[in-house]
Amino acid sequence: MAYVAVKGGTEAIEESIKRLTFERIHAQELLEIKTIMATMRGMVDQVMSESSLYSEFLAALAIKQSEGNMEEAVFLLRAHRSTLPRLYYTRVVETDTMAVERRISASFKDIPGGQILGATYDYTHRLLDFDLIDESKAEMKDWLDQFIGEEVAAAKESNLSLLPKVVDYLRKEQLLSEVPDDQTEPIDVTKQSIQFPTTRAERLQVLTRGQTGAVTSLGYAAIRGYGAIHPTVGELRVGKLPLTIGNLSDDLENDYYIGDIKVTEVESFVPISIPKENNTEEIEFEIGYGICYGQNETKAIAMSILDQSLELGSGVHPTQDEEFVLLHIDSVESSGFISHLKLPHYVTFQSKLDSIRKIKKESEK
């Protein structure tokens, strides 16, 4: 005869997890990982970008497991990332080696190499396409055969790697403020916690991992009135970058090629005033930089705005305050702390009750 501890929590969790599985499969339809990889490009790209883990397969798995819930998919992938040893850093990549799929400039109409629209929703009419309800495999195949035929013919005429950078043009004209070449080894923000004030390399890392919505919102705030910044997209590129890692002999020639990653890169031009000696001012351009995994154009542009705001902003606006921006845009951190409010707070609340009651008693005296 003895008292036994209540086991309510364990059973409640088991039942809840069963319920979750039920919700995922009760309609008796299964989504293949390869279907997600093939058809949910936008989501896969966003999940990889916010997770800082480049794997379309694992992102698709996370999407399947989380029933398409973005914050949950990123959470799964980030947690998985923690279990992987980090053995190498890739060599620094110069982005002019990119195999370009899309490249536009809002600054110059005639950019050397030309504007390349590539795949974009920008010029589609956002009308629901009811034909997609009955899309057939046969139609799909016909369309593909014809398109690929045209593409092969066109591809022979153009070379889309090693395109010149728009920014080089401004540099030649001396319209860019001088930026000293910084070859300092960057601090890896996932291996060392950031300390304020930060370096630009740290800021760029946090921004590129930032939640798409959060980065976009703060970038929007900065151009809408809380940041006094008016950027022009100098160049936006989407394409693949080859990555290599060094070998033991540290001989660049013998680096190992480990694959390509698709990225979106943005260089925004932001006019800034430079005070001159005789009380006059001159205008020069400063670059805001954004880069992220996959095709994530709004996020990359917003990142370039925030990069410039944090680098040169006077700190008057919250979008120029690095602690405000960098400590709040992370998907896993913000959603985790908000969601912890669902946990019981009986002890702290009891403590608060005690304090409130004592004060009330005091003031009644």
């Binding site: 279990t83 996932t190 009986y346």
Partner: protein
């Protein structure tokens, strides 16, 4: 593609790195050591700091106890305990005395801890000056300059406003006469248990990426003025309706039918032990009667 989880989830490099941060924290009591907090399989704000400390120090011989809000059976405690057990296979317990590592949210057990135990506390906001200074850069300087006037001023302002200090849980403490520390969100009631604790107390904040510690036999004093001494939550005249205990932290419960308020030990394993102790006494008494 089947992946097997490594012992205690992390790769060895990560665990070593976290242990180094812990050693530094032990060497400088109350000082917040920044560390490369990993993303975890549980959410930020749900105990990832504590979990990382537990996973980096745990060995196969350890016995783990996890508490949330005083209870072992709270769903979050069960979940964390399940995860550690799943990735390490170590034994778990609800008995405070049996545990070698106790990970907890919000409470230090009622039973005094021993030299053989490590108390790991999950911390949401490690910065005791955060409420008076929002900037991390500035608070770091204030700590360096031993400038805690902000914390004192906060208490002083409360006295001016309410006639007494009005801190809730997480009442700031001074550790080893140097660093002012946030004692995690433990109730004021538990602050005193940190003073000269026999067990090592580790505090981990995952989202804020900080580790700090109270080594065994260290002085920990709650900030207070001479004329307004530190007061803990009071349960005067109250007792646990199950085990009759007094002088423990209690949950306030309401009888739905009568509307009456009654109390119960917040530390459920303590309550259970007390109940079983009385049971034993009862049995012994019966034995004697025969």
């Amino acid at each position: 593609m089947q992946l097997k989880t490594h012992f205690a989830l992390f790769d060895e490099g990560s665990k070593k790195e976290i242990r180094r941060a812990i050693l530094k924290a032990v060497a400088i009591p109350g000082y917040q050591v920044p560390f490369a907090s990993r993303e975890m399989p549980i959410a930020r704000g749900w105990g990832t700091g504590g979990l990382q400390l537990t996973l980096s120090i745990i060995g196969k011989q350890d016995v783990l106890k996890v508490i949330d809000q005083g209870a072992d059976e709270s769903v979050n405690a069960v979940n964390i305990q399940k995860l550690v057990n799943k990735t390490t296979g170590v034994a778990t317990t609800i008995e405070t005395g049996e545990a070698t590592i106790i990970q907890s949210r919000h409470r230090i057990p009622e039973v005094p801890l021993t030299e053989k135990q490590i108390m790991v506390l999950q911390v949401p906001i490690p910065e005791p000056l955060r409420w008076v200074e929002p900037s991390e850069y500035k608070t770091k300087k204030l700590h360096a300059e031993n400038d805690y006037s902000g914390a004192w001023l906060m208490l002083f302002e409360q006295i001016m406003k309410y006639g007494k200090t009005a801190t809730n849980a997480d009442h700031p403490v001074l550790v080893h006469d140097r660093y002012v520390m946030a004692p995690s969100p433990i109730p004021r009631f538990d602050n005193t248990k940190m003073h000269q604790s026999e067990a090592l107390i580790l505090l981990g904040a995952g989202r804020e990426k900080k580790v700090y510690a109270v080594p065994p036999y260290t002085n920990v004093t709650s900030l207070a003025f001479d004329d307004h001494p530190f007061e803990v939550e009071s349960f005067d005249g109250k007792h646990c309706h199950l085990c009759q205990a007094t002088n423990v932290f209690m949950d306030e419960l309401v009888n739905q039918d009568t509307g009456e308020t009654y109390y119960q030990c917040n530390d459920t394993s303590y309550c259970l032990a007390e109940l079983n102790e009385h049971e034993h006494v009862l049995e012994v008494a019966v034995e004697h009667a025969r």
